[in-house]
């Protein structure tokens, strides 16, 4: 028995509010269990002082109000990874009453390593042994009772996606509240190391504050391992010097005696313990049978078939996102553009209110929501591929080529997401371990033509390239891709230099995803587009509206929205004329220039701004008007400019929150410069070729 169970003397003293934390490796089904407990509703934020995501949900068990803390997926509790550190500090600061360690029966030894690490912290842990069905399919069974005895804590077998074992888990949570465990030694590190641990431990015990907050033995072990974070935490202790001195002495001594780095030794010993326990509880039922996963992987990671399959999945994703979602887009377009707009136009409200609602809000909101189906469908299919397990294989297969392009295999997901909306795409770059790779992927992401730019392409292509409309639009996407590759190479080789730290990726077996989980994931990502982008675009639409009906001479009146002559006198007009000078090589007039300005806030607004500026009644008449003011060449250059210039405000905000203000500004500047160069280049080459 590793723990002495002592019954809590005063159960009545337990408040009816408790806090539990979910810990476990990535891919063990932690989010499934989280969703089972909380219904999927969570408050999402960051662990204080970090960029690591913190998810908190609520549930009720047995009359208790339970706060469920989702810790990041981790393999251990070192100070080397932001995730692990956040989890560790989260446990120490939040002091959960119970920690549910979700172990993966199908990936047993690896899971046990974390379990042991958690026990070493002295926390109140119970184990949810998940995916026992998968383990059986892989040919073995785990003796949960034996495991429970060896670890000294309750072990609940579960199959989370089927809901099996969840009730028992809930019961066990409540039961373990009433039992206070006195931790004992889990891993015996051998006489030499144990003696030194004891020496450091004794000094730590002298500091009552420290020993109350952290388990002295755990603290001592971490000090021996050279854990930088732990070293920081002793600073305030009156015994700091003594502790550090003894630690140094012990480390030196052990490095010599062990003929090995103490840290490595300790980690290996811990791993061996995990293997030992695993071996005792694992029972092979049959020799590893051929699994479906093996068969599928043979093909998906095949030298020849791998990449074509990936490209096919991409094609299906886009076809699904655009063609199948189309009716929903049409519906939303009709609802806002026709139904609501007419409703307001035919009402008896004062004209300024009508205009504010109709031209400002309804048009503004409508222009965002029109894309929601496309984005949601794209994310849906992507979430499906992720949850089924395919995306890791795609990353593996594509990694080599991505490196030649300045990116990494894991960049593939953000790049695909970027075609829907750059905001969740940039957040997805968190999955990339290497700093430099992450920065490059995020900075280059805005060149992935998001759905906001599509209306600009469509209007211009429709007006100037009629028969070739599809090709013109496609060429924009291709241009974006080519530029992304060029910039990625440029950044990776010259600006963010350095060998890639690379990655370690687990390959979980293919599993039929739960519809609930896919939907939740899709919603989370689409939500970012909706709210972050939505609020900004709405404000932009209002801003455009305001700037159009006022000017240096004061209030002009809503008639300005209909009358281009009046419009020229407004702020928008002033702005446009100023910008016109800068854009003269491309031959864009002041209205097109002004529209670009508004596009800075959100690219969707460009078309609406153009419609308003050119006095088009609605967007249908716009192409006709544009035909007289642009040439095919200048129109193409305009499209390219819209593709490249400036990430929209929401994207900038995303870059800022992921990489910092410095990089957000850098993205802003490099893109605008690039956009200008490319646009001028297009016009220049066009003139050389004799086009006009």
């Amino acid at each position: 028995m590793l723990f002495l169970a002592v019954k809590n003397q005063n159960p009545q003293k337990l408040s009816r509010k408790i806090k539990i934390a979910l810990a476990g490796n990535p891919n063990v089904g932690k989010s499934v269990i989280f969703n089972e407990l909380t219904g999927g509703k969570a408050w999402v934020g960051n662990w204080p002082g970090t960029t690591v995501e913190k998810k908190v949900g609520k549930t009720k068990i047995d009359g208790y109000e339970v706060e469920v803390l989702d810790l990041p997926g981790i393999y251990s509790l070192t100070a080397y990874s932001l995730d692990e550190l956040a989890a560790r500090n989260g446990i120490v600061e939040e002091k959960p009453d119970v920690i549910i360690d979700i172990a993966n029966a199908a990936n047993f030894e690896r899971s046990l390593y974390l379990t042991i690490s958690l026990l070493e912290m002295g926390t109140n842990v119970i184990v949810a042994l998940n995916m026992i069905d998968l383990a059986e399919a892989q040919g073995y069974k785990i003796d949960a009772e034996k495991l429970s005895k060896l670890l000294g804590i309750p072990v609940v077998p579960t199959i989370a996606i089927k809901g099996y074992g969840i009730d028992e888990l809930k019961e066990t949570i409540i039961k373990s509240l009433k039992i206070k465990r006195i931790p004992e030694k889990i891993v015996d590190y051998g006489d030499f190391v144990e003696t030194e641990i004891r020496k450091i431990e004794t000094i730590i015990e002298k500091d009552s504050k420290l020993s109350k907050k952290y388990l002295p033995r755990w603290f001592a072990i971490k000090l021996l391992e050279g854990d930088k974070d732990v070293e920081k935490r002793i600073e305030k202790s009156p015994f700091a010097d003594e502790i550090l001195k003894q630690t140094q002495k012990s480390r030196k001594m052990l490095d010599q005696t062990l003929q090995k780095d103490v840290e490595e030794y300790i980690a290996e010993k811990r791993y061996e313990k995990a293997l030992e326990i695993a071996r005792e509880c694992l029972k092979t039922v049959k020799t590893k049978p051929l699994t479906l996963t093996d068969m599928i992987d043979f093909v998906t990671t095949h030298k020849v078939f791998g990449i074509p399959i990936m490209l096919t999945m991409l094609y299906i994703a886009f076809k699904f996102a655009f063609d199948v979602a189309a009716p929903l887009c049409d519906l939303i377009d009709w609802f806002f553009g026709a139904f609501l707009y007419d409703l307001v136009a035919n009402s008896t409200l004062p004209s300024i209110v009508k205009s504010f609602l109709g031209d400002g809000i309804i048009t503004g909101v409508g222009s965002i929501l029109v894309f929601l189906p496309n984005i949601a469908f794209l994310f849906l299919f992507l979430a499906f591929l992720e949850d089924i397990g395919y995306m890791t294989r795609a990353a593996f297969v594509v990694d080599k080529i991505m490196h030649k392009l300045g990116l990494t295999g894991k960049s593939i997901i953000p790049m695909i997401l970027g075609f829907g909306c750059n905001v969740p795409a940039i957040m997805a770059t968190r999955a990339i371990e290497d700093e430099n790779d992450r920065k490059v992927t995020a900075l280059v992401n805005p060149l992935m033509s998001c759905s906001a730019r599509l209306p600009v392409y469509l209007i211009l292509a429709g007006a100037f390239f009629a028969a070739y409309k599809g090709t013109a639009v496609l060429s924009m996407y291709v241009l974006g891709l080519i530029l992304a590759i060029i910039m990625a190479l440029f950044f990776r080789k010259l600006v963010f230099k350095g060998p890639s730290a690379g990655f370690v990726m687990e390959l979980p077996p293919y599993m039929m995803p739960l519809v609930k989980n896919i939907v939740i994931k899709t919603w989370e990502r689409s939500k970012r587009f909706l709210f972050k982008a939505g609020t900004v675009i709405l404000l932009a639409a209002i801003l455009v509206w305001v700037l159009s009906i006022t000017g240096p001479s004061g209030y002009i009146g809503v008639e300005a929205l209909e009358d281009p002559y009046l419009l020229e006198k407004s702020w928008v007009g002033v702005l446009g004329h100023f910008l016109e000078q800068i854009f003269s090589p491309m031959g864009w007039d002041w209205r097109a220039a002004a529209a670009l300005f508004f596009g800075f806030v959100a690219k969707e607004v460009v078309v609406a701004a153009m419609a308003m500026l050119y006095g088009a009644g609605g967007e249908e008449t716009l192409p006709g008007i544009l035909a007289g003011l642009f040439t095919p060449l200048s129109a193409y250059a305009y499209m390219a400019f819209v593709l490249i210039y400036v990430p929209c405000l929401a994207t900038l905000a995303a870059i800022r929150s992921e990489l910092g203000m410095k990089y957000a500004l850098f993205a802003l500047i490099y893109e605008i410069v690039l956009a200008y160069l490319v646009a001028v280049g297009i016009v220049f080459i066009g003139h050389l070729l004799g086009l006009s």
Binding site: T78, S81, Y113, T301
Partner: protein, 96 residues
């Protein structure tokens, strides 16, 4: 002794040394990759990432020519993919 990145597909290898900084070495150790561990190279695409299975405690197996299928060692856990960079830092000895 060669880097894992150059090990042939289908072979079983024993780790001799991990040439990395503290953080990386620690991370690999905790996944079961440290000197003395035995891995099977399941898939390698040449100058790229390597897919391995950790098969400690298993006797060396004769190499099979398509390792994704028909591996009858019971691996310790799911397969892992190591990037090229990491695979270069792990020095191994081919068994059999």
């Amino acid at each position: 002794m060669i880097p894992l990145a150059f090990a042939r597909e289908g072979t079983q290898v024993k780790i001799v040394h991990v040439n990395a900084g503290k953080g990386l070495t620690r991370r690999l150790t905790e996944l079961g990759i440290f000197p003395g561990a035995i891995l099977k190279v399941v898939k390698t695409l040449g100058h790229g990432p390597v897919m391995v299975e950790i098969c400690n405690n298993q006797k060396a197996q004769p190499s099979c020519n398509s390792c994704v299928l028909g591996c009858n060692t019971s691996p310790n856990g799911w397969r892992i993919v190591l990037s090229f960079g990491m695979a270069m830092k792990i020095l191994v000895q081919e068994l059999m």
